[in-house]
């Protein structure tokens, strides 16, 4: 009998190649005759391009071609995958997003030209010889003021820089509830702009085979089929059967490698022009000004309560920065992935949100780990923390009074979503216990004796992932379906290759999916290969983001396995001369029920491909099945994160001394991998709260454009985490799984800031913005001292 693997912390199948330097990332691939591209980018946030003189660059050694917007202006623009409508019913403003700037550059880093040469160095040298006549224009980079009168227009045909003005809920109901409430807590918040920063910079290799007319693109993508669809159909007009997109090993994504980027289309298109493969690899500085950024909201919110602290209504006004152009998923992030989560884990009966999306002269903003849900959670958990203080209630107590109870599921929120399952009180109770919350005051006093300020902060959250039910997202403006595809190919000798449309760039699919297959077919994991990332191998797929791989892609594989078993039972019935209805399948063995007649999975597989004794009139040979799975609902992980910090009031340095996360992932296939995902998310959440911020100056120059300026969390900025779970199986998929990739980044930031505020509360500090850097904390302490002295 094969040992069951589901639920076990099975060591990862993929690790050996990564540990021995045998991973195959895009930049590790070299094609015969390969040339190199260098992208010339705008150094200005906003500039008219009066002309480009290519002659000197073209004459440089090794140069094959120099392309500008004049060469690509008849090709399609980079498409947006989602259309949001304003409250008056008009569609969002959707200005053209050219591959190379056409007459105007709209952000620092906007691609203006591409040089192709025999070597990287030659391409770079030639780029410097390119003469570009820029005429600088005034720029707008600040989210909160982009809509103001007299602001420069990012796109001449988009008045006021407004992309859309969208609402959800009834404003009049919210206003009425706020007007008669016992107490209203108000808050102003900025959700800081972040850069995803996967450690592997983006890269792309385009290649054209003249003999077949087929294009191949190797690219650092989380979803190669989506890139094939967007680039083939909308940008370059290459049909799917002549375009192969391969995303090999990819070194992290966190959302930033979902989107279709200009460089992918440029190297693919130009490879046919040049007649040679073209490789482009971003350096880190280039990544900072060309990878889609994340977050960047400015919000004002009001929370109305009755005398017992029961939430009556929430009203939110948010301005969200889209950057200079609409990236693939951008419009849905601050609407359907944000405002629909504003009920959170609470029974708030009325929620209203107004979201204005604005264009600015900055890099496009799109989904970054959590995408909209961290912004919603941050807003809710900051205002709940403030409300608890204003109402004189403990942090856990106000939450207890407002949680959706465990017996209320399925629970319809006032903002469209129906949560299938969860137990928010149980996750909080467990986190309280694991974090030793009850004895916190002792630790606060002990820290005080050392001159340190200690604080503890809560965040209780729910998120919507397993993206996504196609009919639902279609009605909300998605221009594609978001199902997933799984194909199971049983080979003649019983080993199995699984083709999945999801993509693993750190998530360990080669292990988790193999566990599903091994257990279901009763074969050893070594006999299972998980294949992903190549449109010529995988039938179709929508890729990996929104914690969807297992909840959507894993279920597709599970369904394909069901079909395999169903057909195999028919074959087994024939082999054992029994009725199909009497065939049982367990532990890799088919058995005639109630007898000792058995046949092994491998024998059935062989029979399927060597059909000498086979019910050929009723059944085709072969054993290979494909399934598509489209979920009926999102999945809803939730939980509680409790952070404990110690602040040195002399320096303002905040040390995270405890980080406890208890989450509900639904059913867990591999706890080691799941908890590893949480660790990474927590680091990004703590990073957002204390370290990371993407800063533009008033002229639109990116001030934080390298690891010298943008503070990536290092090992010595972070604690060891206490991670646990309390799981309620998901109701909408047969595996009962919810998702784990984003929870850490969604839940943790407000817990960190609430802990900082708790530490500083005795000094009278009531607000601090992310990232709470030592300078900000120190300044807040000084300001509080000054104002107390003045009183």
């Amino acid at each position: 009998m094969t040992k069951m693997t589901v639920g076990q912390p099975i060591k990862r199948v993929e690790d050996k190649r990564f540990l021995t330097g045998r991973g195959k990332y895009t930049d590790d691939i070299n094609r015969p005759g390969q040339t190199y591209a260098y992208i010339v980018r705008s150094p200005h946030a906003h500039a008219k391009i009066n002309g480009i003189n290519k002659a000197a660059a073209e004459a440089m050694p090794g140069v094959h071609a120099v392309f500008t917007g004049d060469d690509t202006k008849d090709l399609g623009g980079i498409p947006c995958g989602w259309q949001v409508h304003s409250k008056d019913g008009t569609p969002m403003a959707e200005p053209r997003h050219p591959m190379l700037a056409e007459g105007k550059a709209r952000h620092v880093g906007d691609p203006v030209a591409m040089v192709v040469a025999d070597t990287r160095e030659q391409a770079r040298a030639a780029a410097e010889a390119l003469e570009i006549d820029y005429q600088e224009l005034p720029a707008v980079s600040d989210t909160g003021s982009a809509l103001g009168d007299g602001q420069p227009l990012v796109h001449d045909d988009v008045s006021s820089n407004l992309c859309y003005d969208w609402i959800i809920g009834e404003e009049a109901d919210a206003d009425a509830a706020i007007a008669k409430a016992h107490h209203v807590t108000e808050i102003d918040l900025v959700n800081n702009r972040l850069v995803a920063n996967p450690m592997e910079p983006r890269a792309a290799i385009g290649e054209f085979d003249e003999s077949t007319g087929e294009y191949t693109l190797h690219t650092t993508s989380q979803n190669p089929h989506v890139i094939r669809l967007l680039m083939g159909a909308f940008v370059l007009s290459i049909p799917e059967h002549k375009l192969r997109v391969v995303a090999p090993d990819v070194g992290g994504g966190f959302g930033s490698k979902i989107y279709h980027y200009a460089e992918e289309a440029l190297v693919t298109w130009a490879s046919a022009k040049v007649g040679r493969p073209i490789k482009w690899t971003a350096d880190r500085s280039e990544a900072f000004i060309s990878d889609a950024h994340g977050r960047d909201h400015v919000s004002h919110a009001k929370l109305a309560m009755d005398e017992n602290g029961k939430f009556l209504a929430l009203k939110v006004e948010t301005t969200a920065n889209m950057g200079a152009y609409l990236s693939t998923f951008a419009p849905c992030v601050p609407t359907y992935l944000y405002a629909t989560l504003l009920a959170g884990v609470y029974t708030t009966p009325i929620v209203f949100a107004n979201v204005k999306a604005v264009f600015t002269n900055t890099v496009p903003v799109d989904a970054y780990r959590g995408a909209g849900r961290p912004e919603a959670t941050y807003l809710l958990e900051r205002i709940v923390e403030k409300a608890a203080r204003e109402m004189g209630l403990a942090q856990d107590e106000l939450r207890r009074r407002n949680f959706i109870p465990a017996d209320a599921f399925p629970y319809q929120t006032p903002v469209a979503l129906q949560y299938d399952s969860g137990d928010y009180l149980a996750t909080m109770e467990k986190a309280i216990e694991l974090s030793n919350y009850e004895s916190f005051e002792d630790r606060r006093q002990e820290a005080a004796s050392r001159g340190k300020l200690r604080g503890i902060g809560f965040s209780t959250y729910v998120e919507a992932c397993g993206i996504a039910p196609s009919a639902v997202v279609g009605s909300l403006g998605a221009r594609a379906g978001l199902y997933e595809c799984g194909q199971v190919r049983v080979h003649p000798t019983g080993s199995v290759t699984v083709f999945t449309g999801t993509h693993s760039h750190g998530q360990g699919h080669e292990t988790t999916f193999a566990q599903l297959v091994a257990d279901k077919l009763g074969i050893p994991m070594e006999n299972v290969e998980i294949s992903h990332g190549d449109t010529n191998k995988i039938p179709f797929g929508m890729g990996t983001y929104g914690s969807r791989s297992l909840a959507v892609g894993g279920v597709a594989i599970d369904r394909a396995l069901d079909k395999v078993v169903a057909k195999a039972k028919k074959i087994a019935a024939h082999l054992m001369e029994a009725s199909e209805a009497d065939i049982e399948f367990e532990n890799g063995e088919f058995r005639v029920a109630g007898t000792d007649k058995t046949t092994a999975f491998g024998d059935v597989a062989l029979t399927a491909y060597v059909p000498h004794n086979y019910p050929i009139e009723e059944l085709e040979p072969g054993l290979e099945e494909t399934a598509f799975f489209d979920p009926l609902n999102f999945s809803y992980p939730g939980g509680c994160h409790i952070c404990e910090v110690e602040i040195d009031p002399e320096t303002g340095v905040t040390e995270v001394v405890g980080m406890t996360a208890v989450d509900d992932f639904g059913r867990i296939i591999n706890p080691m991998i799941v908890h590893g995902q949480v660790h990474g998310g927590l680091a990004q959440g703590i990073g957002q709260a204390l370290l990371e911020s993407c800063v533009y100056d008033e002229s639109g120059q990116l001030v934080t454009g390298s690891y010298m300026d943008y503070t990536m969390p290092r090992a010595d900025n972070l604690p060891s985490y206490t991670v646990d779970d309390h799981c309620v199986p998901a109701a909408h998929n047969p595996l009962g799984v919810k998702g784990c990739g984003e929870v850490g980044a969604i839940g943790s930031p407000p817990s960190v800031i609430n802990a900082v505020l708790d530490a500083l509360n005795p000094l009278g500090v009531r607000d601090i913005s992310m990232p709470a850097t030592p300078m900000k904390v120190w300044q807040a302490i000084q300001d509080a001292k000054m104002s107390q002295a003045a009183d």
Partner: protein, 161 residues
Amino acid sequence: MASVSMTVNGKSVSGDVAPNTLLVDFLRENLRLTGTHVGCDTSQCGACVIHVNGKSVKACTMLAVQAEGADVTTIEGLANGDQLHPMQEAFREHHGLQCGFCTPGMVMSAVDLANTIDNPDEKTIRHWLEGNICRCTGYHNIVKAIEAGSKAMQAGKQAAD
């Protein structure tokens, strides 16, 4: 062009390079040893850490010609055939990697740490890793892996003595 010779993973290699060629580019482009990665352009990320004469070095901070005559070990040269080095094994055992991109630099850096300081504690490990950035793991399991890997290396040394 300048000619350069060194020992890489136990083999003598030589090549012609431009004088400004970085060691990491020599390894990746000339020798096609692509396990050593480039994650930044400011010598911050540590994805390119290798060993030069037994000490960890960011291969983006050295010119290829500066490694003339040196004994270089890259991630490809760490395992003993099919048998993983104890530090590699510890990373696997403790789930100290996810996307794998920072991993070669992390492992090479960790091996140098374990060679330099016997049985380093958590604080020492976190401090040592200041020059290695990981975006996936949150470092939790990397720290655990290095603690375990260092112990295994120590035990191996004692067994050999």
